[in-house]
């Protein structure tokens, strides 16, 4: 259940960040390059015309809002979840609760703004930039927060590093932009060579490469830091988790999206096929990666427990 949340939150926050960057990029001349906003039409629903021009922004909060109840379901006593904000001074769980709440609230406000048919809400005033900026900051927070939460666990060397939040942020951004590409391709209504789409594709390639580099740095750094870190990385690369890591994380998560986006950027092939595989790619990347790390650390904890308990005797 945690994996479902991690996937939804990563993708939602990532696509929100990317979407809002695109929207801002369309508003201003950014380093001399004028981006065309993604061309998305209006649809008619219940007699109202809905403007879908900022769809990538809108599904972010929805996804996070769908994902958050899975966190609550994981608690021992579910109805006490409101207690979780009582100790923001030292606890990252409490801070995360607050970050998530603010992001969901402001995101849903923005959603309401563009979906509700009231005329006075549609005013394109500068005031709407304020909730956008707040939601943007807290979307970044949502993407990074899980990494910080794990990083704050001082007793588990595999998690206790600054690279982990960075890794989670980059993977959230790449997943989010991939989701936007998928959505625009999948609807089949849009010209394939919209300039924003092209920029996005390059962005995804760069992000995936960065993610690979960070992943390498992360693992190699963890390998050197201590005995238990070494054990964890070994378990990941050569041990019983190697199929999930090499198959699910590296191949589906890093190599496939890169290759497919490269192909997609230069040719016009079978969009549906590409779509299916791309979808598998992003879908497997985040939950597998994180679930594996969690499972992993359960093992690392056991090893550590034995180590602490018996100073390594009897292994």
């Amino acid at each position: 259940m945690i994996a479902i949340y991690l996937y939804l939150a990563g993708m939602g926050a990532g696509s929100f960040v990317i979407g809002i960057l695109i929207q801002w990029g369309a508003l201003i001349n950014w380093m001399g390059v004028k981006l065309n906003p993604l061309f998305l039409p209006s649809i008619v629903l219940f007699g109202h015309t809905l403007n879908l021009s900022s769809v990538p922004i809108l599904w972010g909060p929805i996804m996070v809002a769908i994902g958050a109840p899975f966190l609550i379901l994981d608690l021992g006593i579910k109805w006490r979840f409101m207690y979780a904000c009582l100790n923001p001074r030292t606890s990252w769980v409490a801070r995360g609760f607050i970050i998530l709440s603010i992001f969901i609230i402001f995101g849903l406000v923005l959603l309401a703004k563009s979906v509700l048919p009231f005329e006075w809400l549609h005013a394109e005033s500068v005031l709407w930039r304020i909730p956008e900026i707040i939601a943007f900051v807290f979307a970044l927070g949502t993407a990074i927060y899980t990494g910080i939460l794990l990083k704050a666990t001082k007793s588990i060397p595999l998690w206790n590093t600054h690279l982990l939040p960075l890794l989670f942020l980059v993977s959230a951004l790449s997943t989010g932009s991939m989701a936007i590409i998928l959505a625009t391709l999948g609807t089949g209504l849009f010209s394939h060579d919209a300039s924003a789409l092209k920029v996005l594709m390059y962005a995804v390639q760069i992000l995936v490469v960065i993610e690979g580099i960070v992943l390498y740095l992360y693992l190699s750094g963890r390998y050197r830091v201590s005995e238990q870190g070494k054990d964890s990385v070994r378990l990941l690369l050569h041990g019983e988790k190697k199929f999930i890591f090499w198959g699910g994380d590296v191949l589906l998560g890093l190599v496939l999206p890169f290759v497919l986006v490269s192909i997609a950027a230069f040719s016009h092939g079978n969009i549906l096929l590409r779509l299916g595989v791309l979808h598998a790619g992003i879908k497997d990347q985040i939950p597998m990666h994180r679930l594996m790390e969690i499972q992993y650390d359960m093992r690392a904890m056991k090893i550590k427990e034995n180590w602490n308990a018996g100073k390594g005797i009897g292994r």
Binding site: I77, R80, V93, A94, S155, N306, G310
Partner: protein, 161 residues
């Protein structure tokens, strides 16, 4: 007030797990070792048994990470670290944070539980037949080790003369 702590002499422990039983009876009313706050870690192949209870660390990670302040320190009560059952939401963050694998998740109550010195009279100490666990003043915990070291020292001094 002088702080008291649980001290385990691992060489005396026979691995009978009576402490787990009495702990669960005292805290839950059920004779169910899986709900006890003390766990005997066993290495049967080398004959090593080690009862593991909470260390009530000076810098307790479980207190730091608890989102609800349910896990807190009570300076007036042997400086113990304890979890307030009414505040705990069962998020298990403390279990992940503890370097000793201590707080346990109670399946029945759906909250996290940990050693609280049985409010000053630890049952594991009372019922341990071989006195492997003792509840002693914090500054007397290593008296036996000190004595041993000084005996060795005296012995070696004699040999030098």
């Amino acid at each position: 007030m002088q702080e008291k702590v649980l001290v385990v002499d691992q060489q005396k422990c026979t691995g009978c797990r009576l402490c787990e039983l009495v702990c669960s009876v005292f805290h839950t009313g059920a004779s169910n070792p899986s709900r006890s706050r003390i766990k005997v870690v066993k290495w049967e192949d080398v004959g090593l048994y080690l009862p593991m209870a909470c260390n009530h660390c000076e810098k307790a990670y479980c207190v730091e990470v608890c989102p609800t302040k349910a896990c807190h320190r009570e300076p007036e009560n042997n400086n113990r670290v304890t979890i307030d059952k009414k505040l705990c939401i069962g998020c298990r963050t403390c279990i992940i944070a503890c370097p000793f694998g201590h707080p346990f998740f109670d399946i029945h109550d759906r909250v996290t539980v940990k050693c609280d010195y049985c409010d000053g009279d630890p049952q594991c100490v009372r019922f341990c037949d071989v006195k492997a666990i003792s509840f002693t003043d914090a500054d007397k915990t290593n008296v036996a080790k000190k004595r041993e070291a000084f005996l060795k020292y005296a012995e070696s001094m004699k040999q030098i003369r």
